[in-house]
Each structure stands twice: as C-alpha cells, then as structure tokens.
C-alpha cells in the first residue's frame, strides 16, 4: 500500500499541466471559469485540441485510438483538466457509445463511427429516457417495427442532453412487446436529420436550455444501424451504465468547486471578517473537504480495483451516491457563501460578450443557478434512490 503518487505518475501530471498551459485556449478556460454558457463550437474546439494530442478517447483501447492509461492516470488527467478550466468532454459519443460499439458493434459500425466520433464529425445524443418511464428505464414505449431492411420508429424520448446539437442519436427501442419489459429492447443508431424527428427544448428550472424532448414519428432507420442483436439492447444499455467511468464520483469537479468555495469564503465578509474565519462556515467547509478527501481516495481505490479485474457494479453505485451528495453540498455552500448576492438573476450575463459590470462580486452571479442546476446530479443517470436499490439488492441477496 502506498498512498503517494509514484514518480511516473507525478511526471504524467506535469506533462498534462504543460499540455493544458500550452493548448487549452485561454478564452475558453475563462468562459468555463466565469460560468458562461458554452456553445457547440466551444466543445468542438476542445475536442479537436485533445484529439490532436491523442488524448480525446481516454477510455478506449489503444488500437482504436485510446490512451491505455491506468486508472490513476485517468484520474490525474481529469483532475488537471477541470482545475485548468477545460470544458468537459461531451460524453455521449466518446464515453458512452464508443465503448458499446467497440464491444458489441459490427466491424462496419466500428470503421464507420469510431473515427467520426474522434474527429467530431458526429455529435451523438442519448435516446434512453421517456416521459412516464423515469428511473424505470425498462418500461420504455418507443416502438421499432421491422419493414424490409428498415425499422420504422415511433415514440418519444426526453431529457436528451444537448440533443439540439446532435447529428445522431443512440436509442433504445422496443422491438418485441410480447415479452417481459427488459426483453424485447433493441439498440438503434438514428440520424437526427431523418424525416419524422422533431427536437423541442426543455427549459430547466434555472432558465437554461440544455435538455430536449425528441419526438419520433414514422422514422425510417436502416436495419444496418442495429447494434448487436435484436431484442438484446438491454444488455448493451446495462454495459454502458456500469462501464467504468472515471468521472462518476465527480471528484475532479468537486475539488475544483471546493477550491472555488474557499476563495469565495476568503473574499466574502461576515461581521467585518472573512467568512472563511467564521467558525460555523469554516466547519461546514472542512467537513465537506474531509468527505471529499476520503471520496477521492475511495474513487481511486475503486478504479484500481476495477482495473485489476473486480467488477465495479456495487462500487460505482456507491461512488455515484456519495459523489453527488458531496458535489451538491459544495454548491449549497457556494450559494450560502454569497449571502444576499445569491438573488440577482440576469441570464444575459452568461452570454459571451456581455460587458456590463456584474451585480455584486464577479463570482457571485452563476452560483445560485449552479446550485439549482446541480439538483439533477442525484436524479439523472439512475437516481440515487435507484442506486441504493441496486446496492441493497446485491448486499442483502434477498
């Protein structure tokens, strides 16, 4: 057991830092740090920079253009990127579809889609959730009926994150309705410009457009776009959900937010002294910092165990639950930290090119908004309640 980074790992960290210092566009990092809205171009810019370095598809095997990094390296990379203000890597093609295609796709599908993901020729979105299904993913109602060498798809998907940017969607559809809910599901790849597809924005509680509804009406999808076997889609979806994801605990985000929180608390005044010196506030910050130190170690323990061959089923649920609790706690402390300046709500201030003076300190305006936005963490990707059910089932074996 050694809780320190090895010399190689530290050297790797230095190389990531040097890369970020050199190649992460400053204007982009500033947008991220100031909580500005990112547009499609921002993500594409960052993907291209990473791809040029060969670091875009870090979870893929080397032979498909991945990095072959150890879990610790992935963690270091993630941490440094977020600390430097890099945008997140849009996960749908790279972290979600990619691994599924690599494991279950045909050679033709791999040849066609993997390079297009790497080169950002396709922006993918995820077509899983449906209205009325919620956490009960298996109860989906979108139907695909075989018609010659096509499927005809009818139904509705929702919570489609960044679906308004997407060229393509990987989609769960019902191909057999006579069987149990989890059977009869297939995994289809659908062009977003197919006739019959309509994308409608969903405005979230904090007034932003990030997610969408997608309506499918008699959409014709070539049968060649079926991934794996018909009616086996649930297997692939589950693989995707439990596939190793360095970021599931959000440790790097939390570290960066905690750092931000401490800066804010040093700047804000409480009874004439820095808020950071208020004993109650300092105790709240310290408590979440201690939780986060433990979580960072737990995350690495889990990633290393997974790499060593232990399946990450139960652990990944635990990381999701506690990791999101910690992230949410930090955003809660951030909104508290700024006191009355949590109130101002000026959505146009998050547009690029907004030049008016901020209301209150410059860091204040995005914080209440982020607090509300981050409520989603414990809801999506399998709500924390669902994760608890999964863990309990495995633990209790009843």
């Amino acid at each position: 057991m050694d809780m320190n980074f090895s010399a190689e790992e530290s050297a790797f960290r230095e190389s990531v830092r040097a890369f970020l210092k050199e190649d992460l566009p400053h204007a982009l990092a500033a947008k991220v740090r100031d909580g500005k809205r990112l547009d499609k171009r921002d993500y594409l810019t960052w993907h291209a920079v990473l791809n040029a370095r060969g670091w875009l598809a870090w979870h893929w095997p080397v032979e498909h253009g991945g990095t072959g990094w150890t879990p610790v390296q992935k963690h270091i990379f993630d941490e440094e990127c977020i600390a430097a203000g890099a945008p997140r890597i849009v996960p749908f093609g790279l972290n979600m579809l990619g691994p599924v295609l690599i494991k279950f796709g045909t050679e033709a599908q791999k040849r066609t889609y993997l390079p297009r993901i790497l080169n950002d020729q396709d922006w993918w979105c995820q077509g899983y959730s449906e209205p009325g299904a919620g956490s009960d993913l298996a109860s989906l109602k979108t139907r695909a009926v075989r018609d010659g060498d096509h499927y005809i798809v009818n139904g509705q998907k929702t919570w489609t994150t960044l679906g308004h940017f997407a060229d393509k969607m990987f989609c769960l559809v019902k191909t057999d309705t006579q069987v149990k809910p989890q059977e009869g599901i297939s995994f289809l790849l659908i062009d977003m410009d197919s006739p019959g597809i309509t994308v409608r924005p969903i405005v979230t509680l904090e007034g932003e457009h990030e997610i969408n509804e997608v309506f499918l009406e008699d959409v014709r999808v070539p049968a060649a776009n079926l991934v794996g076997e018909e009616n086996k889609g649930w297997t692939y979806a589950k693989y995707l959900l439990t596939h190793e994801r360095t970021g599931i605990a959000g440790v790097a985000f939390s570290l960066q937010s905690l750092d931000h929180l401490k800066q804010v608390a040093r700047d804000q005044k409480s009874d004439g002294r820095p808020l950071a010196e208020n004993p109650l506030f300092a105790a709240r910050v310290a408590q979440v910092e201690i939780d986060l130190m433990a979580m960072a170690t737990l995350n690495l323990r889990t990633l290393c165990a997974a790499a060593a061959g232990t399946a990450p089923g139960l652990e990944s649920s635990m990381l999701k639950i506690k990791g999101t609790m910690i992230r949410q706690e930090i955003t809660d402390l951030l909104r508290r930290a700024i006191g009355p300046y949590a109130l101002p709500f000026v959505p146009e201030a998050f547009d690029e090119g907004y030049n008016e003076a901020p209301i209150g300190p410059d860091y204040a305006m995005p914080l209440a908004r982020q607090y509300f936005n981050m409520r989603k963490l414990s809801i999506y990707g399998g709500s924390n309640e669902i994760q608890r059910n999964i863990v309990a089932k495995q633990m209790l074996r009843l």
Partner: protein
C-alpha cells in the same frame, strides 16, 4: 395559551386564499414577474382593497392589524400564491419603518402605502454587510440644513419600482456600531442617486443603488438622527416573521404537490408512494414542516415580548425555516425526479423562492449565531 385563529383572522385568511386561487395561476405569476414592474399593479390595488396590505400594518398607524398573527396569516397565503407583489418591501418594511421611526408628516404616507398607491423599499444592505444589521458604511453628513448621502446599497428588494426609498446611513459611529444610524425617506431620485434594477432568481425584483453626493432635505430624516437602530431591528424582526410565514405557505404547497405526485405517478408498475424509502422521507418532510410552523407561531406570539426574548424567538424561527426550507426544497425536487427540474412545472419555482428566503434578512447560520447571542442576554 390558545392556538386557534379568531373568526376575523379566519376571514382574512380565506379572503386571501380565494384571491390567490382565482387570480394567481402560475402562468399569471410568470407574466407578472416578467413584466417591467416585476409584479401586477392591478392586483396590488385589489390586495389593498381587500385589506391584505393594511393587515400587515399596526392599527394605531392606520393599518388593520399588524400583530404577529396578522403577518403570519397574510404572508402564508402570499407564500401559497407565490406572489411577487411587494408585501415585504413596501408594507412590512416600508410602512413598518415609517410607523416605528417616522415623524407625523412621514407617517401620513402610511395610508397611501396601505391603499397600494405608494410603494416603498428599504435600502439597507450593502456590498459587505451580508446580514449584519448594524454594518452600515453609507454616510450622511449635514450640509446647509440638509443631508448629503454617499454609499452603495445592494440587493434592495423592489428597489427598482419604489416611489420612495428608505435609506439607512451612518451619521455617527463606526462600521458595525448600532449607534449613529439614521434613516432617510428619499423620494423621486434626487441627483446622485442611481438605481440599477434587475430580476431575482425567485421571480422577484431588486436593485443596486448608488448614492454619490446625493442631497436630501432635513425633513427626509426619520425621527432623530443617529437613533434608528432599535426601529430597524424591530422592523426587520417583523420582516423575518413575514418571511417565515411566507416560507411556511410555500412548504405546504411543496408538500402537497409532492404527496400528489407520489400518489399518482407510477414506476415499476406501482405508485411511487408505495416505496417505503420515499414514504419515510415524505414523513420526515411533513414533521419538519410542522416543527417550522410551531417555531413561526411562537415567534408570531412573541413579537411584542421584551427585546432578548423577541429576537431570540425570531432567530430560532428563521434558523429552523432555513434548515427545513432546504430540506423541503431539495427533497420535493428529488422525490419528483426530472419533472421538477423543468421550468414549466410549478414546483421548482416554489423551491427557488423557498431557497432565496434563506438569503433574505439572515440565513440559517446567521440566525443560529444570533440565537446564541440573545440566549445569553435572555
């Protein structure tokens, strides 16, 4: 000891409830909030006509009530309706300050406030004051028989539309000194006063106000210069009670909405409410709301108690409201799931207002510390 509302107050409550039910659907509320004023002047007049504004102002000052229970009854309905009208800013704080500290001439304006024809706002908070009541750096110096004001006021509730601002400024003492504070009733934006209005997260309105060599007459000073602190504390206390009651109304809507959702939404083939883990969280939410209601009732009943007892009980209520408010906002969103993350659903707007109440007139931690301080004094 008696926990029942009098007949009169039951009528007041039912009147308010009916008005909100009939005239304040959530879409109307969004429209009011999005309008230039940020609220409905037409409804404000109707509220006035029905006595809801007057109920917040002591009878001896031309109001119709003004006791703790009156504030509680009206503001709970304001919370249930998620109203954006300036009940707190103009009636509780504005008229309250005139009543507590104003000269007879100034108090004459209370009638207009109650009639809904004059809007007041209390410009007190400053960029570094956070929630400290005596932390005022805005200065007023005497000059040629009047006063010159210099300073910056921040997040002034409804400060953009108020016909007159009540501005706190220091005429003596140091930054956090309770002594040396004065209030000025500043109407019509004299030269040197700049307001920058904006919307707030909860659908309300506020303003940043700059005072740069702003000259006001001697008559604008409320009462005797340098002695305003006790009045500020008492009126902020009424504001704290108002916010607690508003939060209660909101929390009950959140609870009822969530209960309905758990009863009707099915997952895995059964209503969500069949899942024991969700049931137990729902029960905890309900009992904490009952706790919050009890603390608010206690504070309402002690609004005229001696200072330490009054302030201690008010801080206890605001602390509990802050803690329970967070629980209710977060759990009612979580128990709903995705739908509660969308603008088109009513619940998240309630949750946002509930959360922002913790940022007005002192958050849970501020009032915990204050409770400790006043408990020593009590």
């Amino acid at each position: 000891m008696d926990f029942e509302l009098s007949e009169e107050r039951r009528i007041l409550r039912d009147t308010a409830a009916r008005l909100f039910r009939e005239r304040y659907p959530i879409q109307a509320r969004h429209d009011f909030a999005a309008s230039d004023d940020g609220f409905s002047r037409a409804l404000w007049t109707d509220f006035a006509d029905l006595g809801l504004i007057g109920a917040l102002v002591p009878a001896e000052m031309g109001g119709l009530g003004g006791a703790g229970v009156d504030i509680m009854v009206v503001m709970e309905e304001v919370g249930r309706g998620l109203a954006v009208e300036p009940f707190l800013a103009s009636a509780v704080l504005g008229a309250g300050l005139l009543a507590e500290a104003g000269t007879a001439a100034q108090q004459a304006q209370i009638a207009e406030v109650i009639a809904g024809t004059r809007l007041l706002a209390f410009a007190h908070g400053e960029p570094d004051s956070r929630y400290a009541l005596s932390e005022v750096r805005t200065r007023a110096r005497e000059d040629a028989g009047g006063w010159i004001l210099d300073g910056r006021k921040s997040v002034v509730l409804n400060g953009d539309t108020a016909d007159a601002l009540i501005v706190s400024a220091r005429t003596g003492g140091d930054a956090a000194d309770p002594d040396g504070l004065s209030l000025f009733l500043v109407a019509g934006d004299p030269e040197g006063v700049t307001r920058r209005g904006y919307g707030t997260v909860d659908g309300g309105r506020a303003a940043e106000i700059d005072l740069v060599g702003a000259r006001v007459s001697a008559e604008t000073c409320l009462g005797t210069a340098g002695t305003a602190y006790p009045a500020i504390e008492r009126v902020i206390g009424r504001g704290v009670l108002a916010l607690c009651a508003e939060a209660l109304g909101i929390m009950e809507v959140c609870r009822d909405t969530t209960l309905d959702y758990l009863r009707t939404r099915t997952q895995f083939g059964v209503p969500l409410g069949k899942f024991q883990a969700l049931q137990h969280r729902m029960v905890d939410m309900c009992l904490e709301i009952e706790q919050a209601r009890s603390a608010t009732m206690l504070a309402a009943g002690k609004l005229d108690a001696p200072r330490a007892e009054r302030e201690r009980t008010l801080s206890a209520a605001k602390n509990l409201i802050g803690r329970v408010g967070r629980l209710v906002a977060e759990d009612s969103i979580q128990l709903h799931g995705g739908i509660a993350m969308t603008w088109d659903y009513a619940l998240p707007h309630y949750a946002k207002r509930l959360t922002m109440i913790d940022h007005q007139l002192g958050d849970a931690d501020h009032h915990l510390e204050r409770f400790i301080a006043f408990s020593k004094a009590a």
